[in-house]
Symmetry: C4
Subunit: 231 residues, 4 copies
């Protein structure tokens, strides 16, 4: 298997999320739109982020029927299909139950501008809560045209251009949720508006690509079994 | 020894609890009703969860006399016998002193519905406190027909159908106790009632079996010495 | 070197403290009264707890002159000599700067009875603060005939019968300081008085010896370089 | 390469910072004034602290042109050049985004005297905030003749005599920021003024050199790949 294979990259993304403290029990998902199909995406099943191997990824149609591979998928993957259908700009989706995102979600707030890296999420967040009555796909409406939706008492969905970007945004969201909670508890205040806007452009340019590369390198040492899968 | 041997599974359960942050000093116990005896259960002695090997488990009668193996057991194992006698539906018991459960227990509250996984414990919890006068077996009365009893300033007992289920419920209880404490501190609110009920059925079906399997796999890498014991 | 050599046991005690989260930068000390001298004790110099090897221990007279070995000792070891002189019941001393003990010390409080293991310290604690004027040996007066003195904004000294006991008491003190801080923040309350008294006898009997043994076993896997020193 | 080579020492400093919990994503920098140039310093590019190898360091002029080596540097290295130009007493600079420093920075406060090690920073700290309008070099004015500047919602810069000292000061600053936050939350109070002054002299003499040595030793076990680079 080539190192650029989408199945390898999905497994790497899941391992990176785990290494960066985004453990999500068996309920987190990482998916990517299939390059050579109009109506399908690659996704993995119930397992811990740190256990994923490339052949754990399955190609699934927007009709939720598996096309390549077979796996026990969460009934919750239906929102991936719905987002890819509705949002042509989205190339990859991360759904995570990471700790601080889940804590912050219980307040109904979005991630505040408490840290230089938080500016990545300025004007990019929506919120959602489940009342046990509405369709679970209502979260797709809640996301709208944003990059992030925080799901109350649950976690978040990050929908972004590429797998690399969605992964780094997801782990940064977790860090920024922690900053929000701890800065607020300490009586901290947010970044001034002009600096948020200036910083966002700067961070998007320098931070995202360098973070993927650095995390990928870190994986070579922490997860040799993943690289063994390349043959 | 076969991988399905109850002694191996008890050792695996203890190691899983340790890996998932449920360290309980030398005072945690994991036991399982003996399949082929009417009045006995398997249990381990004073040691850290991460050190247990299969031959550390001992078969003990409900009269607290050892039948197979010998070990220094905590005087507190008496409540295991009492629960197995009174509750024919209980196949395994986990007693743990894990950190966040112990902190939450000091408030006298039960675990609130602050996270999707918390719904597993909806209508399944009781509380108990020790006053230095009543019998230590009074905790069995306090448990009643529930699945969980939170012991004030101490920890919890989880009594469930199977060893696998009791283990995953115990480690999830610890995660949910942490969510309770941190969500409450952040001003978070609980899940709406209808979603609690709908989510509980869903979580019980998908979460428990997949979590045991994923944790068991994780153990293969973290605890090779345990698997060496299979010979 | 024999496994019962006091120098080996001091190194093991320091490694156990590190493994149990009592990292104290280079300022923590572990000492033990010399069995075969009336006026000397074994102590180690400036280094991290996890780095100590048996030959890092030095025999030092109550006059603070080295008798066997040589090392850069902290000027603060003078209180060890003073405690051994004044307290014939004390066989070993641990001074630590562990995190939660240091945080709690800033409040001027002693460790409250928030957890079953906290009862070990009931009626065993004193407090001390430094004003930059009084002699540093004033901490020995503050300790008096207690087992523990919490030093404000600094850490604690544990003076106990044996090295094994002082070590387990020190690491348990750290756990109980954390329980105090987090239970208090969560609105928790302490254990009722009668249970404190009943629990203390029980815990002292079962907890201390089993904890030393379990921690020592854990060290065999985590610190093979220490055991290599036995030759 | 010799173990005293500045490039090796910069890599070691970065690894020490990582080991001591000062992970700063890809945005932290460590630099040292070049001994044999009047107008240049050694610095590393975008990467995690734990990944740095000696040949990742580049010699850069105060004009921000690379002289030896080439690397993708953060646009933020410009403040290193400005500090070396303005402050002949400064031999090394650490810029870090460590967690507790970043949280505390959001309050606009400096690190309070909550712990014995905090006294190192008494009368040594300034604060800075970015408004999105002023030049990023304004942080150099804010630093003035101090050793530390806390950057609001961002992190800190430590400018000190030597690389060894800047490194230990940076990791101690992180520990003391955590003490500040947790002691304040627990209702703790600061060290009395006379003890701050007396303790500062004592700590500067004993703590700094022993901490570098102890951390460097710890690196031998945790980072063998770094030492492989010595050939």
């Amino acid at each position: 298997m080539h190192i650029d294979d989408i199945r390898f990259r999905i497994a790497a993304a899941r391992r990176i999320l785990y290494r960066e403290g985004c453990d999500s029990n068996v309920g987190g998902h990482v998916s990517a739109r299939a390059d050579d199909h109009d109506d399908a995406f690659w996704v993995t099943g119930f397992e811990y982020f740190d256990q994923t191997l490339p052949d754990g990824a399955c190609l699934m149609g927007f009709d939720l029927q598996p096309r390549i591979g077979e796996l026990k998928v969460s009934p919750a993957v239906n929102f991936h299909a719905a987002i890819y259908e509705r949002r042509p700009d989205v190339g990859a989706i991360v759904h995570l139950h990471s700790h601080y995102v889940s804590v912050l979600s219980s307040t109904g707030k979005t991630v505040g501008m408490y840290n230089v890296s938080s500016v990545l999420f300025y004007d990019e967040q929506a919120t959602y809560f489940d009342d046990g009555k509405k369709s679970h796909l209502a979260v797709v409406d809640a996301l709208g045209d944003k990059r992030v939706v925080l799901m109350k008492n649950h976690g978040a969905i990050v929908a972004s251009e590429s797998l690399e970007q969605a992964t780094i945004e997801a782990l940064t969201l977790e860090q920024c949720a922690r900053y929000h909670l701890e800065c607020e508890a300490a009586g901290g205040t947010e970044i001034l508006h002009d600096e948020v806007v200036a910083g966002k452009a700067m961070y998007r340019k320098h931070f995202l690509p360098n973070m993927w590369e650095a995390n990928f390198e870190r994986l070579r040492r922490s997860d040799p079994d993943l690289f063994d899968a390349l043959g």
